[in-house]
């Protein structure tokens, strides 16, 4: 049966694209408006790519395909991503 994981599992792939941790970043679902941490999204990772769905309404928040040398990231399901960065030294 197709079951989901959560956004924690994307940390490694996203960590190769972003220098800040993305799993704790928050985004607002374009469909239902719920705000979730990336770690809280429902991730379907057994696919030709990784699909993260809103834990509230189930619609796609973002998608990622990784192949050697390339990545495709679709963030259309998030109105914006809020990241917490460490304070400047």
């Amino acid at each position: 049966m197709s079951t989901h994981l959560d956004g924690n599992v994307l940390g490694g792939e996203l960590g190769e694209l972003f220098t800040a941790d993305i799993t704790a970043a928050t985004g607002r679902c374009v469909c239902c408006g719920a705000i979730s941490a990336i770690a809280q999204t429902r991730v379907y990772a057994d696919a030709p790519g990784m699909v993260a769905r809103c834990p509230g309404c189930g619609e796609v928040m973002f998608r990622l395909v990784r192949v050697p040398g390339r990545a495709w990231l679709d963030l259309r399901g998030i109105t914006c991503l809020q990241l917490t960065l460490p304070a400047e030294p």
């Binding site: 379907y44 696919a47 030709p48 790519g49 769905r53 192949v67």
Partner: protein, 199 residues
């Protein structure tokens, strides 16, 4: 290439078969999905073909099952590199379903329950190349493999064989689907290893 792990071979089985480039053989039947498995009630199931002019033809489960069907054995090639050979299905040919549909469209977009889409040229659905399959290995197609009915287009990578099929739109302009808009090749011929954009 990563550091070789001594003694690791993975789940593959030796080939000895004529596989498309980059593929390996499996004996199980992996389940890949972009979302939760849709649970479709046969009483409300519908398959609808919509043409470029907006004309539509629809079948409910009983009218769909009344159509002539055929038993087919096909090889499956998934873009994630596994291949499964000689898989037995029963389904209705798209030639049968589209026989009475008048269209000048060149493109098709398959739609699934749950929102998945995939696109392909209309001509790739015809000429005995595609079916809507509702039985696998002699039993009703299970939900995890796309049941009640899925598209089956074995000459292309398996992501084109949309599970939980609910409709096909015939279009005058190509409309890339779920994976085709995220790096996957627009056509997807496994024998030319057309996995990603630019291949």
């Amino acid at each position: 290439m990563g550091i070789v792990s001594p003694g690791f071979t993975g789940r593959r089985r030796p080939g000895g078969e004529d596989l498309p480039p980059g593929q390996y053989l499996v004996t199980d039947f992996p389940v890949l999905s972009a979302g939760p498995t849709p649970r479709v009630d046969l009483a409300s199931w519908e398959f609808r073909v919509t043409t470029e002019t907006g004309q539509a033809q629809a079948w409910d489960w009983s009218s769909f099952r009344a159509l002539p069907s055929e038993q087919i054995t096909v090889d499956l090639h998934c873009v994630t590199k596994w291949s499964k050979l000689r898989t037995p299905w029963r389904g209705v040919s798209l030639d049968t379903l589209l026989a009475d549909v008048e269209t000048a469209a060149e493109f098709a977009l398959a739609r699934s329950y749950g929102g998945y889409t995939t696109n392909l040229p209309l001509e790739d659905l015809l000429g005995g190349q595609a079916w809507i399959a509702y039985e696998y290995d002699g039993a009703p197609l299970g939900a995890e493999h796309g049941g009640p009915a899925r598209l089956l287009v074995p000459h292309l990578y398996l992501w084109k064989s949309a599970k939980w099929l609910t409709g096909i739109d015939l279009l005058t302009e190509d409309e890339p689907g779920f994976w085709e808009t995220l790096g996957y090749h627009n056509y997807g011929d496994p024998w030319q290893e057309q996995r990603y954009w630019g291949d």
